[in-house]
């Protein structure tokens, strides 16, 4: 779409509208003026015709001639007039008359020019406009010798040039158009100024928005914009959008920062291992052991990267989740996880009990469900000493799924609780060294629970151990459950280095609280 200026478009529209209106009113005013002018003209014509009639009446001549002195009576010099008797005998006429009608037309012919309606009638002759009227009168001729006078009817044709009227109308039209043009100019200028002033808050708003950078997210809508009802909506929308963006940006930044720190450390370990190995001549056995160590270091780094990506994915949420909401049975994940961990539990001499009777369809992918349950169960197993017990229960009540994992392990300290879900937090360093975790397991679990509006909580489980409680909302009825077989294995696409991470249970072994 072509870009356009709102100001220009608005001004143009208003001016065009005003021009059309001005033309209409000018036309109406001119029509009215013309009508008035014609009335005045008619009065003038009748006056002149009457004066003529009076003069004719007064003319005394036995031969019935009227000898008029046109200058004596006040008649227009260029007026056309003729005085006739009904018998078409012409008593007198103006000078112009014979020029207009040189062939002396009969009264019937003159009827097309002069109409006996009492009002003037316009006509053109020889390219000039005239308005004429016709009056009838009676002429008294006094007899000498005191005999009664003779009455003779007369017809007076009188016409005058419309030239002055046309000139007046032209002048009026010119005046009206000038005034309207001036009005248009004033309107245009006023509109421009008003629009400029009116749009200033918008400019201020855009100025405030344009200073936003990744380093400076603060957006305070200028008061001038907030006070404008139409702009306040935009300003508020911008402000909340900026807040959301900033939050997400900060989250990303923190993540990148944390990830960089962890990766730097991981790289340092590998690098120092290799440099240590190369620092002097060693035996073949020492080299083999050193390489084994380096391989272990890189496996741990791989695990770190994998978990960071997993966390990033769950924290950002699935953008397609709105279009294609996923749901899976948490009970299935619980029983699968219990089956997977059975061997590990038996090896560590821990009693693992799982209880998931009813299906709990939650709005998560089955991958997310598996990750959540596996992480928590493995975590509990790792923090439970030999001879302990880990109990996993899944209940469905009041529209939510309640997953609890209780262990009889070494428990948690009160001061640890606020940090437990922090990324890369490793509670007890001696414990994290033992389990070799990367400190992302609980952060991932929290991200999964948060992604579907659930909650996760860790608290001491008296008399001994830890109790993890996960509350997840149930998926709306009718949501299709993803069959486990169709779920994409997240690691299937990435080439596996064969460093012992291929089996899920083994890389879960590295998880820690």
């Amino acid at each position: 779409m072509k870009s356009y200026s709102l100001t220009r478009r608005l001004i143009l529209t208003v001016l065009l509208l005003e021009l059309a209106l001005a033309l209409c009113t000018t036309a109406a005013a001119l029509l009215y003026e013309r009508e008035q002018q014609m009335r005045t003209f008619d009065v003038m014509l009748r006056g002149r015709a009457d004066s003529l009639l009076g003069a004719v009446k007064d003319a005394e001549d036995a031969a019935d001639n009227v000898m008029l002195d046109a200058k004596a009576i006040d008649l227009g010099r260029d007026d056309l007039w003729e005085v006739r008797e009904p018998s078409n005998r012409v008593l007198d006429r103006s000078e112009g008359w014979s020029r207009a009608w040189p062939d002396e037309p009969g009264s019937a012919a003159l009827d097309s020019f002069f109409k006996a309606t009492g009002r003037g009638h316009n006509f053109r002759i020889h390219g000039r406009s005239y308005r004429g009227l016709l009056i009838r009168g009676v002429r008294q001729i006094d007899q000498e010798n005191n005999s009664p006078g003779i009455s003779r009817p007369v017809v007076i044709y009188y016409a005058a040039s419309l030239k002055p009227v046309a000139a007046t109308l032209r002048r009026a039209a010119r005046f009206l158009l000038l005034v309207n043009a001036l009005l248009l100019l004033v309107t245009g200028a006023a509109l421009l100024v008003l629009l400029r002033r009116g749009l200033r808050p918008l400019q201020e708003l855009s100025r405030a928005a344009s200073v936003i950078t990744p380093a400076h997210w603060h957006f305070e809508p200028p008061p001038s914009a907030s006070n404008v009802k139409e702009l306040a909506v935009l300003a508020t929308a911008l402000q909340s959008a900026m807040l959301r963006l900033e939050q997400s940006f900060r989250q990303q930044q923190t993540f990148v920062h944390d990830a960089a720190h962890e990766l730097k450390t991981a790289v340092t370990i590998i690098k120092s291992s290799l440099q240590l190995l190369a620092s002097r001549q060693r035996t073949a056995e020492e080299y083999a052991a050193g390489l084994e160590t380096c391989l272990g270091d890189s496996a741990r780094m791989e695990e770190l990267v994998h978990r960071m990506l997993l966390l990033a994915r769950f924290e950002q949420g699935n953008p397609q989740a709105f279009a294609r909401p996923e749901s899976a049975d948490l009970a299935e994940s619980v029983s699968e996880s219990a089956a997977q961990m059975e061997n590990f539990a038996a090896l560590s001499n821990i009693h693992l009990v799982s209880q998931a009777e009813a299906a709990a369809i939650v709005p998560l992918s089955s991958e997310a469900c598996d990750t959540l349950v596996n992480n928590l169960v493995m975590n509990a197993l790792q923090h439970t000493p030999s001879g302990g017990c880990v109990r996993v229960t899944l209940e469905v009540s009041a529209g939510e799924a309640l997953l609890t994992i209780a262990d009889t392990g070494d428990g948690i300290r009160a001061e640890e609780v606020p940090h437990l879900f922090e990324r890369f937090y490793r509670g007890d360093p001696s414990r994290s060294r033992r389990t070799g975790g990367v400190g992302l397991g609980l952060a991932i679990c929290k991200a999964i629970a948060d992604s579907c509006g659930g909650a996760i909580q860790l608290c001491p489980n008296p008399p001994q151990g830890t109790l993890v409680t996960v509350r997840l909302p149930l998926a709306p009825a009718g949501a299709s459950v993803q069959p486990a077989a169709l779920v994409e294995e997240p690691r299937a696409s990435s080439p596996d280095s064969g460093s012992g991470l291929a089996q899920p249970s083994e890389h879960l072994l590295k998880e820690t609280r």
């Binding site: 450390t265 340092t268 120092s272 440099q275 240590l276 620092s279 741990r300 937090y425 490793r426 360093p429």
Partner: protein
């Protein structure tokens, strides 16, 4: 020399400790968190502290401040994965002597460690000269009047430590504290045996004593002005 390594990452701590033990032959104690670091710093005498900035429990900067306020004067080399001028300035102002960004080069790390130890002892030149005796702290070699004296690692470490404190008395306890880490079974007669071996090697071909024994107080390395040509 005895070094305290404060690093929560088990593998990295092990590598650093191995490098310090294998290379310059230092005694190394490892603290895996801030609380341990403070505890070690209080009880042990160190010639250098290697401190990671990100630690569970008490973070590195607080550990540094605690150590300094306890009167710990050993040079501190900070390992950090955080880049940025502000944190570096804060670190140095809190009492750190140097810092190294992760991932670092092990060679550079060791060079910095040696330089910091030298500086901590008030020595500038990597080769310490006492009379005709020259102790190269980089190459770990000892020469006397140009001829090389072959020493065992422990003998070298004793001589190096003594050479950093010339003309002053170094007690057996000091030697034990600075040459062995916590895992070592300490016996003062081990020191005596090493000292006697060292003396024998240094005095080869001469009868003057480089190392004086002050009964009940310790040992003193003295510079001999002249040696009999015989």
């Amino acid at each position: 020399m005895r070094v305290l390594v404060v690093e929560d990452e088990l593998r990295l701590a092990d590598n650093i400790a191995a490098a310090l033990r294998e290379g310059p032959g230092y005694a190394v104690d490892i603290a895996y968190d801030g609380a341990d670091a403070v505890h070690f710093g209080e009880s042990g005498s160190y010639d250098l502290i290697v401190l990671d900035l990100m630690l569970p429990g008490i973070d590195g900067l607080h550990v540094l401040r605690r150590l300094r306020s306890q009167g710990q004067n050993a040079p501190v080399l900070v390992l950090t994965a955080v880049s940025g001028k502000a944190s570096v300035i804060e670190l140095l102002n809190a009492g750190a002597d140097d810092y190294l960004g992760k991932p670092f080069d092990l060679g550079e790390f060791l060079a910095r460690v040696k330089a910091l130890i030298r500086r901590g002892k008030g020595v500038g030149h990597p080769v310490i000269k006492i009379g005709r005796l020259a102790i190269d702290t980089v190459e770990k070699s000892v020469t006397c009047g140009g001829s090389v004296i072959e020493l065992s690692p422990t003998e070298y470490r004793i001589l190096e430590y003594l050479s950093y404190h010339p003309k002053s008395v170094v007690s057996k306890e000091m030697l034990l504290e600075h040459l062995y880490d916590y895992n070592w079974e300490r016996h003062s007669n081990v020191i005596e045996a090493h000292i006697s071996n060292l003396r024998r090697k240094l005095n080869r071909g001469g009868d003057s004593q480089w190392i004086e024994t002050l009964r009940g107080r310790g040992y003193r390395l003295v510079a001999l002005r002249q040696e009999s040509p015989a």
